[in-house]
Symmetry: D2
Subunit: 216 residues, 4 copies
């Protein structure tokens, strides 16, 4: 199966990227949870992306997932996937970001309740404030929250890049099928090395003027 | 590959459905367009769903896709899929709904520019005005706009049902892969016969009181 | 100044209301905060609305406001209103709901960062899940978050009612000016007694079937 | 009445503005329509802003309002304001932009159905694609669609400027009251001369790299 003519154009990276780390919470990285899997290769790939991003001032945003005990904040979605009810608000053992790729001081962790990192979260307003033009999407799962986040990111007008080794899934088939769809229609699926090369060659991203003024 | 424990709960139909017919425009149904394919089986399945829906007062919404000649209204998305540029505003030969399942007087055709039928369209406000609780999603393509629409529908809190024969794709693999993801995480993939049986057994859906008052 | 012809139609209450209590956090109700004012009359009006709402199963949603110490999650908005920076995440002395109208077990408090209670919060998906058709908006301030919430509520397709005594503002002029705009264009401004009468006469609102099934 | 301490900080203009012309359709500019008024002063102010914006490559977006004959696409909002039903899809006599400030080739006119220019329109994705950081809001009415658009613009993270002479209302009181609220909480209300001075001093705004590449 090949991407047909008129689909899958390479978009390329822009000038002001952001790095998203989607749902790399402890429950998703731990096979003893119903939603969990061993995601070590993706964790290691993200661990390679974080230092060059941080050094150049690229904003890094994390998401995690957490519901009230009643699940009312997850609606039909958590009824479809009861396994998500294992992630409870105020339970760091499930919802905290995996320690190997933990956020540093000042990085924002957004709590989401639906597949897309943009849905009902403050991510979009922060990306606009950062004047971002490119969203690098990493984390899990390729066939769930990565896919949904990528679709929203391109719909909002961003260039989207997905470093292949930095996203993962419970199974190989949905992982491959969703990377095919993403590359054909929504964002550039790129080797990790290409994303690393881009970040390392990036001039330091100064803060937007507004933020600069506000910090003075 | 089986849906694991804690995923894929059957949600079931509610009391006030809406029927969505996504992107069954002439360009998508005509293999001579770069975005097109022969979608006759899905067209025929939708043609079976429409009469019982209309007879019971179930609201029917269509989407089509159309861009300005500059493509500026399609952003990064149409740069990724240049084939979409074949669908131009004011070109009914590409953007009109396939005549075999055309809207009837009073049914709304929404022009969308991104994958989800909800994204930057007025669909959501109309569903809320209709007091809908269930969205039946049909049309094309399974691996594109159907998937994106389903994800948004469940995120907004709706029950989602996808009659399997009423959605289609250019190729069998992404069709099957996306139905798997949808059934595991977002909506119920059901046989066409089940959706037909539900609609035929549905009591007539009266208008919401506000609409009733306004028409008086 | 009178509402002109063709504006300000009375919409009326529907069958499934929700009660919103916007931003009645301690900081807004305490004149020692820069954002605060004595809101006792509105607090007392809300305290009258809560019991009949709860008795009939009307969903009650609260909002509060809280920012990270960096303020990055408030963007340009908190730069425009630095007084908002007094409301910090994890500071109940500022962000907790006023004790006189505190939520009861199971009621949801949404943390918002922008004027509208709908903006980047999960409110909308919960209202859809509740099959709400009417939003009763209370809280503060009339010229800020009440106005913004009302505009979004009517845009999403809801009937909107604002019990006049249950909203308040720092000053009388913007309070009156915004009630005029709301009543002319977005929602019905009604006496508290009318909202109370409606709630007291309402048949108990059963849960939507999905929620009922899920609790079994 | 003065803006209190901690409110109304001056935000200032950024580096990449967009100019919005909200609802300056013929019906709104013609007192013979129920929604209309003589808006000549605002039309003349906008006519002064357009040339320097266009000369420097600043994107210009227009909105108009238009409903289906059934009004179903306007929901509760058009039931509240039946006068809006005078604006019908495909009726240029009502919905076309006033000829004195008509769009030029390539400028986009968005059809909206609710107060905010952002609500269910493609505006946001285009602003992100343009990498805009500042939204200059003009048009009508100050107490309706201008106010709603300003609130959404600041919520999405933009700097907002409202040139005072370039917005108008049916009456002086709501005009003044809403400018007070906007300046205190959402955007900078500035003299027309200041906005003109900013635009005339602005270096030509190059296209974002993606657009530049796409046009090659």
């Amino acid at each position: 199966m090949r991407v047909p003519a008129g689909f899958g154009t390479r978009i390329g990276f822009g000038e002001r990227p952001a790095l998203l780390v989607v749902d790399m919470a402890r429950a998703f990285c731990d096979p003893s949870f119903r939603v969990g899997a061993d995601q070590t290769p993706a964790v290691e790939a993200i661990a390679e992306l974080l230092p060059p991003a941080r050094e150049r001032g690229v904003p890094v945003y994390y998401t995690t997932v957490a519901y009230l005990p009643s699940g009312v904040d997850g609606g039909t979605f958590v009824r479809k996937i009861p396994a998500l009810r294992d992630l409870l608000v105020d339970d760091p053992a499930a919802t905290e970001i995996d320690a190997r790729i933990a956020p540093v001081e000042g990085e924002v962790v957004l709590v989401k309740k639906y597949p897309s990192a943009f849905f009902h979260t403050h991510l979009l307003s922060m990306l606009i404030g950062d004047r971002v033009d490119t969203v690098i999407v990493t984390g899990c799962s390729t066939s769930g929250c990565i896919r949904a986040t990528v679709v929203d990111a391109v719909s909002y007008g961003y260039r989207v890049a997905v470093p292949e080794e930095a996203v993962s899934d419970r199974w190989p088939e949905p992982h491959a099928a969703n990377l095919f769809d993403i590359d054909a229609k929504y964002g550039d699926v790129v080797p990790l090395a290409e994303a690393l090369g881009y970040l390392r060659a990036l001039p330091p991203v100064g803060p937007p003027r507004l933020a600069a003024a506000a910090s003075g």
